[in-house]
Symmetry: C2
Subunit: 365 residues, 2 copies
């Protein structure tokens, strides 16, 4: 049996997300690209690519990963391209999207045979975290000014907007898109394609998928553009668990269980955003704080309810551990790196990657 900790990607649990994506594409005519910044476990790309159109990226390495492992379109975006990478990025992508007019001016010529786009920042967003808010003051993410953008419109065929973030409220999405139309509609109608980015939680329970599809179709028809979405979290929500074992228990005013993993090393966003992990079913009479095994005092997965008191050797399964976890995992404290396993559609579990001491040593020098 595979030793914990490991991330377990369940293809069966991916399917409901992927089927909603496929349905949205069908109803709306939009194309959906997986955002590799959220999820880049390429061993399940075979399945995902049956339901999605390709990938989008944040760096040259992600461009290359998308091109190599995910059939379909490869969008290349980065906050700033480095000239040294440009040829390889062009060779491995179908579109290149510039974050600023400055970058477009510097590299647009070299990319003149390529489909080019520009990131536009509408100055509004749905983020509840300042550090994740692309519309924060002085944001470097995209061009703001319609006049300046208008002046370079003939050098690009598309725009990328990315201003949603875990947005599960269709009306809010709708209202923000209307604001985008009011401000940038005259420019959008000069484009051939528009990406509306990621962060729309349209695979969530009860999300009005049909309304979204209708809204996207209307947008597409109004301006004569191919619409793209770039789901990350929405594509993989609740598909992956982090499988752990309790190593020690203690009582320091609360019942504490220390597991063989660390939020800082393996589920970094819990620390950055000061959030709590999810455990299912999280019911029962016994409340325990599940703690990580790093030296960090605040290395805490959260407080959960269990049917029985925890003891060393017990297994704990952290839910919804696919997004922004494996792509940010690190060797903090030299904590054993979780393996990556895939539960195939027939139920068999296949270990796709294990990490050893040598990997730890080689990460340093």
């Amino acid at each position: 049996m595979l030793r914990t900790p490991y991330y377990l990607i369940d293809k069966q649990a991916l399917l409901p997300n992927l089927e909603k994506i496929a349905r949205l594409r069908e109803l709306s005519g939009c194309k959906c690209l997986l955002a590799l910044k959220c999820f880049a476990a390429w061993s399940v790309f075979d399945l995902m690519s049956e339901y999605m159109d390709g990938t989008t990226s944040s760096s040259p390495f992600e461009v290359k990963l998308g091109r190599k492992h995910f059939p379909g379109e490869t969008h290349a975006y980065s906050v700033a391209w480095d000239e040294a990478d440009l040829l390889e990025v062009l060779a491995n992508s179908d579109k290149i999207i510039f974050n600023t007019i400055g970058q477009l001016e510097r590299f647009g010529e070299a990319a003149s045979d390529h489909v080019r786009g520009l990131r536009v920042n509408p100055g509004i967003s749905s983020s509840s975290f300042d550090i994740a808010d692309p519309a924060r003051p002085f944001s470097r993410l995209g061009e703001h000014d319609p006049e300046r953008i208008g002046a370079v419109c003939d050098r690009v065929s598309g725009f990328m907007f990315h201003n949603n973030c875990e947005n599960d409220d269709f009306d809010r999405f709708d209202a923000m898109l209307t604001q985008i139309e009011e401000r940038f509609g005259h420019l959008i109608s000069r484009m051939e394609w528009v990406s509306l980015g990621g962060g729309i939680h349209f695979t969530g329970e009860g999300y009005p998928l049909e309304k979204l599809a209708e809204r996207l179709r209307r947008f597409s028809e109004t301006y004569g553009v191919q619409v793209y979405l770039e789901p990350g979290e929405a594509a993989i929500t609740d598909s992956t668990t982090l499988e752990l074992t309790v190593l020690d228990t203690l009582d320091n005013g609360k019942k504490l269980a220390v597991v063989d993993s660390s939020i800082e090393a393996h589920m970094l966003d819990l620390l950055i955003y000061r959030e709590q992990a999810k455990v299912a079913p999280d019911t029962g009479d016994h409340e325990w704080m599940v703690c990580g095994n790093s030296c960090l005092a605040g290395d805490i997965f959260g407080e959960f309810r269990f049917e029985r008191p925890l003891k060393p050797g017990d297994r704990v399964s952290i839910r919804d551990a696919g997004g922004y976890t494996m792509v940010k995992k690190n060797w903090f404290n030299g904590v054993r790196m979780p393996a990556i396993a895939v539960r195939e559609l027939d139920g068999t579990v296949r270990t796709v990657r294990e990490f050893s001491y040598s990997d730890f040593e080689a990460a340093l020098s």
Copy 2:
């Protein structure tokens, strides 16, 4: 020339720290072990080991790294040992320190031929961050109760206290040590060795090293114990820079420069603790916000002053980038991983590790 980004460890800049450590050891009789959780770039361990007694660790992999690359003593501590690792940890260490009485009871027998210790939590600390405060409510870090500890005293020969954190105030250290003595002195006198952990910033400018040495010597003599310190940051402070290149500039109400690195990927603590990086000399008429190249809106190194306006191709050197950086770097966004280079004592720069697309791909699966 080595392509940016890269961490540059300057052996010449390590020396002042190491010489202070050597002086403290000489004056006080204490032993100093490098805390690998802070700094584990083993290519400079040859130099460091001339001035220090060994390493301390937070996990089995760190134990192994210390034993393999750092001559001298290897202390093995972990918040929770996993039975599966125990034999290897014992084989690679000189002392094993248990975080709880529970772990001591479970594994003490198997380690009966080994030097054993227990972590004691004095319930006081100098941390100004809740998440880094080992004395926070319900802390899992060590045993609190003198009575319970007294009952197992005959099964260990030493204690580890670790309650300082970036403490540059000798009087505060002194006062906390006095509180430890008042509470645990009768137990300490039954021990042969005591580690007072890390987090004492005794290599900083103006720190009263002699007073600290005298205090440690007195503590050592009062209780008849060998004292250990476990410097991390203090051993490597201001020895390392992160060398970057400006990729793009823009003006969105402030002058912004985007560099070829990301705080989330390469200097994670700036994000976790919402702190600003350091640039030298940070003077001049031009104020710029230096931003990372990841997708994160808050990926900002900080605002600094420069002699001239920044432009693409300019180099930026982030100071004091050695502690808790390389050990936490990760592949967020697939941002190019900084190489690691060492400036030898004769001034020559040697590249000791570069990372490629293959390393990124192999970090996932």
